[in-house]
């Protein structure tokens, strides 16, 4: 899949990347091709967070451009793209994005690629509430630190 945002989408992302700093709770994008795993993570987040779900990279790009999420949980093996490529693409166009890679493979090469792309987290399946809550807390800590620095 050719990963690309339109010029209009890029302007929208730029605008909302600033606005989302004021959200009380982070908005979240789940990118996961397995419906069971998507429902498991989405079901947990349902109680406290606005979230969006994509089953592949194409849907992820469209939802990202529309909602400019604060946090993206991104599976590595997607049917139409590699999650690392998608992470690099998102970080290139939205440098403040907070991306957490999620995978069933805890391979060294995946960890190395995640570090290379400067993503903010790496979660090995199985999901657990603690892993997800810790990732969200890490985002909140980063946002609060950024806010304090800019005061």
């Amino acid at each position: 899949m050719n990963l690309a945002f339109t010029e209009e989408q890029l302007q929208h992302i730029k605008k909302y990347a600033i606005e989302r700093r004021t959200y009380e709770k982070p908005t979240i994008l789940i990118v996961e091709d397995q419906e069971f795993s998507r429902k498991l993570l989405g079901g947990m987040l349902d109680r406290d967070y606005v979230h969006y779900c994509a089953a592949n990279a194409e849907q992820a790009v469209a939802l990202y451009a529309e909602h400019v999420p604060c946090i993206t949980f991104l599976d590595i093996e997607l049917p139409d793209a590699n999650g690392h490529d998608l992470a690099a693409f998102v970080k290139r166009h939205d440098p403040e994005s907070f991306v957490v890679m999620v995978t069933g493979n805890n391979y060294e090469k995946d960890v190395a690629l995640a570090q290379e792309n400067k993503v903010q987290g790496f979660i090995a399946k199985p999901y657990s509430k603690k892993k997800i809550v810790d990732a969200i807390q890490k985002f909140m800590n980063r946002r609060n630190a950024t806010a304090r620095r800019s005061q």
Binding site: D33, E35, S37, K39, G43, E77, G104, P126, Y127
Partner: protein
């Protein structure tokens, strides 16, 4: 014999919501059975990649459910995509058998 599924992780996610768990188990049955049906023990480069991807997807589902042994069998499939057809057929049988244990366990859990 140990239980085929450890639901502790999943229940940390559902907060023990029985309706949500039932819906998740039904989704698991549907997705996993479709995945097993697509797991074809053929040989050749394209078949090996299809097998690896399918096994990877099944592994992720099994691990997220808490079916560790089932996840390990699927991981073996993912790690050995170039195994011969006999070895793949044997592994597929083992995955089907373990999935049967997992399904029975989950059906009992939700009293079906």
């Amino acid at each position: 014999m140990t239980a085929p599924v450890d639901l502790a992780n999943l229940r940390s996610m559902t907060d023990g919501d029985a309706e949500m768990e039932k819906a998740l188990f039904e989704e698991f049955f549907s997705s996993f059975e479709a995945g097993i049906a697509s797991l074809q023990p053929n040989t050749g480069e394209a078949a090996a990649e299809a097998w690896r991807k399918q096994a990877h997807g099944l592994k992720g589902m099994a691990l997220n459910l808490g079916a560790i042994q089932l996840g390990e069998l699927c991981a073996k499939g993912q790690d050995e995509p170039h195994a011969d057809a006999n070895a793949k057929s044997e592994l597929l049988k083992n995955i089907q058998a373990e999935y049967g244990r997992v399904k029975q366990f989950l059906l009992k859990t939700i009293n079906v």
